[in-house]
């Protein structure tokens, strides 16, 4: 425990000094308790999601559809002009990784949710290891890793069937392993090309999990350029070539639909207000780790050498501006959060080393301050389901509310009054984070039963209901809208089918479809039932007589 406690005061010192020397231990224990608590909450949320057989987040079912197509040896990058009007705008790696699970267990939501969740745990472990390598204080490493999982944003999306956090995992592994490699190279005075090759493969994996990884690719090559300029160029050329060749291969294999669906369809409008709002929220929720990371990056800039983490942090924070694109959101800050967790931990370790050299008073003061800062950070990201008496009691004890009132989200039906929701989140009113309940599952089954009452697949904004009913998954509304806004889709066949009432059921949740599609639905279908699931009101529609 020498790493925790400062040097023991001599016997001649007063009793208060002994008490003060124990204060850091108490605070460290409290902060650990807080972050372990968040981890337990994260696990509770994840296990509830693993059991939930429908979309919790609107895009999940379409990622499952991508995985299903890959498991059948087909590409999900397709022509949207013809039935089933389906295509994907995401790179393949996350879905390909899940394919064996789909072979074994069928198209189940828990497969991708489990893989994504495990990916966040691996990211947290990598963050902890990065801090431990330099800091040599297990509790500080634990804070850094657990703080990543305690972020509201990571909590919200970590256990979802979404590829974003899997990309962050590859990014984090690449930067951490690059740092270890370069440090060892500088220590031994030789190049470890095999290790650098592994870093490049991790980067490639990140990019082919989600396009957003380009910022981390840039950060790594900027860092390499700062340290070993010629080598950075020598590695950048083959890296770009391999990335480009894979891109060309997929594009050729899909008759050009890869380019249309992953590039053209991603040119979405930028909403400045959305970006500014998310930056404000991110900083408010993650103030301690962000400020600590920024200060340590500045310290490196002026007094030592810039680390890969500092370059990565700056690149990730700047790239988070893309959260302002239509369809983007809070998860775009996850890379910046991972980088700030590492930098904050390393910065605090450096301050502790400095304080240790100045005697036990300084060391005690810094050892007291650091867990206090982590406790402040823990308080800022407060989030907790309160659906059980124990969790509600914990929230009450911490002086937090045990429920909030949120109006169900409606788009195709009349507004509804606010309802009690047993989930509290300092990020504000959140559509994500509340563990789905048995009532939500029953609601999903009720919606699927509407499909089973007909003969055809439903024209549904979410894939889960068709999956449950064993029917085709028809189109992906957000991708369809992306393509429509970029003049990259012909809706003729789809509109003809809707006008002919070729679908027995239409299911709307947010009306993401392009305007001509919504017009056709409005003219040919009428609402026969409204069912609430996960805080959203779904409109079940049947053909008009």
């Amino acid at each position: 425990m020498t790493a925790i406690s400062p040097s023991t005061p001599t016997p001649s010192k007063a009793a208060w000094q002994t008490a003060v020397a124990w204060l850091p231990r108490l605070l460290i224990a409290l902060a650990l308790l807080a972050f372990v608590g968040y981890f337990i909450v994260y696990a509770i949320y994840a296990f509830h999601l693993f059991r939930f057989p429908f979309d919790y987040d609107q895009g999940e079912g379409f990622e499952l559809m991508d995985t299903l197509l890959f498991s059948q040896g087909e590409w999900p990058y397709r022509n949207n002009d013809h039935y089933p009007f389906y295509s994907s705008n995401y790179p393949p790696l996350f879905h390909v990784v899940i394919v064996p699970l789909v072979w074994l267990f069928g198209p189940q939501y828990w497969t991708g949710r489990l893989v994504s969740w495990l990916g966040t745990l691996l990211t947290a472990a990598a963050i902890g290891w990065a801090v431990q390598r330099r800091g040599r204080r297990w509790w500080l490493s634990a804070f850094s890793g657990l703080a990543f999982l305690a972020s509201n944003y990571v909590y919200h999306v970590g256990p979802l069937f979404r590829q974003h956090m899997f990309m962050v995992m590859f990014e984090t592994l690449a930067v951490v392993y690059l740092t270890a490699t370069v440090e060892r190279e500088e220590q031994d005075g030789r190049h470890y090309n095999g290790r650098l090759l592994l870093v490049m493969l991790l980067l490639l994996a990140a990019g082919y999990t989600k396009q957003l990884a380009y910022a981390t690719v840039a950060a790594i090559f900027i860092f390499l350029f700062l340290r070993q300029s010629k080598r950075a160029v020598l590695w950048a050329v083959p890296f770009a070539a391999v990335t480009g060749l894979i891109f060309l291969w997929i594009n050729l294999a899909t008759d050009g639909w890869w380019l249309v669906n992953t590039v053209t369809a991603n040119l979405n409008p930028f909403i400045p207000g959305q970006a500014i709002g998310l930056y404000r929220q991110w900083f408010t929720l993650h103030t301690v780790i962000t400020v600590a990371a920024a200060l340590f990056a500045l310290y490196q800039l002026y007094f030592t050498r810039l680390s890969a983490y500092a370059v990565w942090f700056v690149a990730a924070v700047l790239n988070s501006v893309t959260a302002g694109k239509w369809g983007a959101g809070e998860s775009y800050f996850a890379t910046a959060i991972a980088a700030s967790c590492i930098l904050a931990g390393l910065g605090m370790a450096q301050v502790l080393d400095w304080a240790k050299q100045r005697g036990w008073r300084w060391e005690t003061a810094v050892l007291t301050l650091i867990p206090l800062l982590w406790l402040i950070q823990a308080d800022k990201v407060f989030h907790m389901p309160t659906h059980t008496p124990t969790l509600a009691a914990v929230a009450r004890t911490l002086g937090k509310p045990t429920m909030v009132y949120i109006a169900p989200q409606t788009s195709c039906s009349a507004p509804r009054p606010p309802e009690p929701v047993h989930y509290v989140d300092s990020a504000g009113v959140s559509l994500l984070g509340r563990p789905p309940s048995a009532q939500d599952t029953a609601a999903g089954i009720a919606i699927a039963n509407h499909i089973l009452a007909g003969e055809t697949a439903a024209f549904s904004e979410e894939a889960g209901f068709n999956f449950y009913a064993g029917r085709d998954v028809v189109t992906n509304p957000t991708q369809l809208l992306n393509l429509y806004q970029n003049n990259a889709v012909d809706l003729t066949e789809m509109l003809a089918m809707l006008n002919a009432q070729a679908f027995d059921t239409v299911i709307l949740r947010a009306q993401f479809y392009p305007p001509p599609v919504l017009d056709a639905i409005g003219q040919q279908y009428e609402t026969v039932d409204l069912i609430q699931m996960n805080g959203f009101v779904y409109c079940i529609m049947r053909p008009r007589e």
Binding site: L226, R227, S229, P272, L301, Y302, R305
Partner: protein, 65 residues
């Protein structure tokens, strides 16, 4: 290996280029606003900060960046 001074000059160059590009938006009439819009103003402030950061690195000389 890049030095602090070289990095400083890179920052200055990036800031000047960035500011020029932001101002060119008006010349090319590519922006949504007549005159300098809010996003352009923010970008100009960022470019200015980058230039100042670069200038502050110049005195640090040949120390590795």
């Amino acid at each position: 290996m890049v030095t602090k001074k070289q990095l400083g000059w890179l920052f200055v160059a990036a800031g000047v280029l960035g500011a020029t590009a932001v101002l060119l938006v008006d010349v090319l009439e590519a922006g949504n606003y007549a005159g300098i819009g809010p996003a352009q103003r923010l970008a100009l402030v960022g470019a200015g900060v980058l230039v100042l950061l670069g200038l502050s690195l110049l005195p640090l000389g040949d120390r590795p960046a």
